[in-house]
Amino acid sequence: MTTTASSAADRLSRPHRLRGWMWTGAGLLVVAVAVAGILVGQVTVPVGEVWQVLATHLFGARPSARGMAEQIVWEVRLPRVLGGIVVGIALAVTGVVIQAVVRNALGDAYVIGVTPGASLGAVAAIVLLGAGSLGITAAAFAGAIAAFLVIIALARRGGGWAPGRVILSGVAIGYLLAAATYFLQIMATPTQLQRALFWTLGSVAGVGWEDLPLLTIVTVLGCGWMLLRARWLDALAASPELARSQGVPVGRFQLELMGIAALITACVVSIVGGIGFVGLVIPHAARFFVGASHRRVLLESLLLGAAFLPAVDILARTVLAPTELPIGIITAAVGAPLFIAQLARTDRRAPA
């Protein structure tokens, strides 16, 4: 059989030829954003001083930079940038996984109830209990897991399991939880409301060194597991029936994926709040750049997420400086147009 590549086919496969470039580009982007994240802020710290601080901690150089620079670079900006990277990775990778499970381009942590559940938990802790930051984290985690379990229970039907119903029950439960969250916000005092609002829209401003170990371990383990399962994800994303014919125990696998995605997301949102749009927009961008194979999509999403979130965080702290914006506002403001632009492009090529 001969291969006749039409010009249309050529155009369609062009992203594949750019693939090598995409990897390098995404990798460089992560580094560039991280460096910018450490250099940029309300207070200008000279590059030399920043380097001194990093050298002191990393290579044990003789401490020469002190006070302000040390405080800003090492205690505030670096954990914030690292937190942004880990959170970006976690949200992007779970987005890929949830989209494969529900087989719907709209899949993200909101759909499986994790984000709205966490928001309600956190806001309830702030408004009803006047909880401190540890209490808020615990309540957010509990809310996320509880909402996820309710949605899973609703999506189960008889002995079977219907991922399509996850979206339906997820959207319905999401509205219900959001209503409860808004209600609590109306009852809140202005101070409580300020905290609640920041929390519902998310922020990595408060991430400190003490938050990083757990976040990093959960994200690394979760993402590693997903990468091992990449081939099963390919089959599942094509169709559950195909996956089953290739030996994938579909129902169990879907539960496993959603459980891991829910755990990762619950850890993330309990620390940085409900950051939307990353899990939605990054997987689509990754697929656009590197094709549909999940090994590549997962890795490219990981890189893009690691670059996107710290980049958006730079905007969050500079756009209205000295006022900090919740990062969720910017992820939506930047993510939605990107998403729409990409949608327009895909539409012209082929049905997505």
Partner: protein, 261 residues
């Protein structure tokens, strides 16, 4: 691999799709399932690979009930070429065919078979030259060959084909059935084309409204009476001068239920 259907009935909701099907398929045989649309061919295939559980009865492969086999074990024994399996992702042809090796891979990804099953399957299905093309840039016929290559790569002792010649031109129809015939494994295929069934199958099973109405060699099953009864079309049967197998000539539509004069 032998297959045994023991009084298999399938009910979906309130609809009785299959009724009391009993049949055996010998190891290495190529068997055709015939019958009009809605007669239950696809459902029977789905029951054999346990995508559907029978409401009564059991399916045994090499004397093992498929209901008792783990999904992965089953996929190492039974390969399926489905009519429409949703393979529309923007994957390359090679990636699609590699999916067929999934049941033979361990968690860390190593294939347990040293042979280049994917390369062999691409070659056998005549799609080696398309290996790096994206699946959504192919014609219907090319795509069907690629899906066949995936089933070949799965290298199972039992292969189920659900209307495998859809979208294929005349030569490609023969290529495809010939490839599976030459494998020497047990093949059960739902077929529409009676002449292809006569040319390639050792035995045929004729289904009508969920019941098995005839089983036997092509000579026994492809008679004008049975074809007229089940398909509602007049038929005459001769010998194909080129192949020596049965040649079925189809005439006008009959009034349902009547037999040719």
């Amino acid at each position: 691999m032998s297959v045994e259907l023991n009084a298999v009935s399938v009910r979906i909701g309130t609809a009785q799709i299959l009724r009391d099907i009993t049949a055996t398929v010998a190891d290495g045989a190529m068997v055709g399932l015939l019958g009009p649309n809605g007669s239950g061919k696809s459902t029977l295939l789905r029951t054999i690979w346990h995508a559907l559980a029978p409401s009564q009865g059991a399916v045994l492969i090499d004397d093992t009930d498929v209901a008792g086999l783990p999904t992965r074990e089953l996929a190492r024994r039974v390969g399926v070429l489905m009519q429409d399996d949703g393979t529309d992702a923007r994957c390359t042809v090679r990636e699609v065919v590699e999916t067929g090796r999934l049941p033979h891979r361990r968690l860390l990804g190593a294939d347990q078979d040293p042979r280049d099953r994917v390369g062999e399957a691409l070659a056998a299905a005549g799609v080696t030259g398309l290996a790096d093309r994206r699946i959504d840039t192919l014609s219907g016929g090319q795509r069907q060959r690629v899906l066949a290559a995936r089933t070949l790569a799965q290298a199972t002792p039992l292969v189920l084909l659900d209307e495998p010649t859809n979208h294929l031109d005349l030569a490609a129809q023969h290529d495809l059935l010939g490839v599976f015939r030459r494998l020497g494994v047990t093949v059960i295929g739902a077929l529409h084309d009676l002449n292809l069934a006569a040319a390639y199958c050792d035995r045929l099973h004729l289904l009508d409204q969920g019941q098995l109405v005839a089983s036997g060699s092509p000579d026994e099953v492809l008679t004008p009476d049975l074809i007229g009864d089940v398909f509602g079309v007049a038929a005459a049967v001769t010998t194909n001068p080129l192949t020596g197998t049965r040649a079925i000539h189809l005439g006008p539509r009959l009034i349902t239920g009547s037999t040719p004069a």
